[in-house]
Symmetry: C2
Subunit: 87 residues, 2 copies
DNA sequence: ATATTTTGTTGTAAATTTACAACATTTAGT
DNA sequence: ACTAAATGTTGTAAATTTACAACAAAATAT
């Protein structure tokens, strides 16, 4: 199966947590360069690795990984606010 | 990375839709034996394949794939009904 | 400014997933 | 019961992911 290009928010989430690739790699149990490859979207993770990452961040997988380009988080927020109505 | 054993509900969902492995494989663009391997949980899918499957079923990925054993759907329903209260 | 940490890049090997074929077994339909 | 379709099993090859090393470039801290 030719695999599609996938998109992810690993680097943003990692920076918001203020941890390095090395630290993230350690807690997940993976080589730190693997995190680099994923952040640069040079290849796609296995489902197992993707699940480990979403478990680490405590977020649903679809908020981190997508087959469609991911908007910046700030844009997501604006859209959600608009959808909910004037607050 | 030694990959964990993952669990999935592909065979139940596929049967509820009443399609064969071959048909599912075709729409997803994968060999029909690959579906067999996944249903028997002999190996884990790539994230891309997992996403394709969840897109096909129109369900969040976590409802189909999990790192922890998945309960039968009927049990999930009972638990949800209990959580919501007497209906 | 310079030292240290972090990230990017390239290459290769190992591990895992996917494809594919051939055949056995099971299930479903008639 | 018989036939056809679906599933399971085994083996091998191809593709992709992950590990790892070595070094360059960039960012951060002091």
């Amino acid at each position: 199966m030719k695999s599609r290009k996938l998109y992810n928010r690993i680097s943003v989430l990692r920076k918001e947590k203020g941890i390095s690739r090395q630290e993230l790699a350690d807690v997940i149990g993976v080589n730190f360069q693997t995190i680099g490859y994923l952040e640069r979207e040079e290849y796609n993770p296995s489902l197992d690795l993707a699940l480990k990452i979403s478990e680490y961040f405590g977020l649903p997988l679809e908020l981190i990984f997508s087959s469609k380009p991911l908007k910046p988080l700030i844009e997501e927020i604006v859209e959600l606010k608009n959808k909910i109505g004037g607050n």
